[in-house]
Symmetry: C2
């Protein structure tokens, strides 16, 4: 199974692709970060995020997309930007017809480090160990996304958001379009 | 000029289409609200919002899409949901290649009522008067969206987010795809 983890963000959106091979071994397929320029118009930043995320999905053809479920943010402004980025990622994932799973930051931390309160450094260290990497990928958004993908592998199908539900919804909306 | 106003929201997203005919007269073309069920999975709610918004855009072929620029929300949870809905609306608008304008709630209130602190009831009353309607459309998300469209008509091209900028960005991203 191949999981594409997305740590949503407008300035930096972390991506991590992790595959399970054989029994329990997890391997990193690729990881990176989508950056958008704060000087660019908001809708173009979101469009860029959507387009680049689509490239990742098409390139790595994951079986599942795991997105961080965020609600605890330090301030409302950050929450809004993260929300916009998460919204874009979720719609794109839903459109791809792939199963989607949402995991909270504390679920992710607990999965990789045993503690829901682990800090980012600790998460990065554990991701490096679990995936057998020689050093932690940078920036930290990347290790967060990899941790999310690992969390999904270990928690199993968790979210249970399956393709058929998306297909059903799309069929409903298509029939809506025919009516209008 | 025809403006489609979007008051982003996950549970209720207001839509208002307003056209200028002749000199200064503004006419309501249509208005409504996109509702998504809180019981449905988040990504499917966002997908539904995106799909239904697309129907509105295709049906009314606006010259401009005006989206409320939101950052002041009472709590982080609401901010996240609004952010997700706004993100979806903005990407869809950007993909449509139409010019996009963002107006803050206080700009909208000031445009229709003369005060940036007008309440929703006051805004609804003014929208009804300005558009020459016999009564205020319900729910209030609808009048908020109409107010946004009116605001855009009266502020002129305000945001100056033009089609060419979107086209340029899309060309850049397409060349990116070729490289990958």
């Amino acid at each position: 199974m191949r999981v594409l983890g997305v740590d949503p963000g407008l300035t930096r959106c972390g991506i991590g692709v992790v595959e399970s091979r054989g029994h329990k071994t997890l391997t990193m397929v690729d990881c990176g970060v989508i950056r958008t320029d704060a000087e660019t118009a908001l809708e173009l930043r979101l469009l860029q995020l959507s387009d680049e995320l689509e490239i990742w999905i098409n390139k790595y053809k994951p079986d599942v997309i795991a997105v961080e479920r965020v609600f605890s943010q330090l301030n409302v402004r950050t929450a809004m930007a993260t929300g916009q980025a998460a919204g874009v990622a979720l719609v794109l994932a839903a459109k791809s017809g792939l199963p989607i799973a949402l995991h909270t930051p504390s679920e992710v931390k607990a999965a990789v480090s045993g503690s829901g309160r682990a800090d980012k450094k600790q998460v990065a260290l554990m991701v490096t160990k679990i995936l057998g990497l020689s050093q932690a990928p940078k920036p930290v958004d990347t290790t967060d996304a990899l941790a999310l993908a690992i969390c999904h592998h270990w928690r199993g199908e968790g979210g249970k958001r399956i393709t058929s539900a998306v297909a059903k919804e799309r069929a409903r909306l298509k029939s809506l379009k025919r009516i209008k």
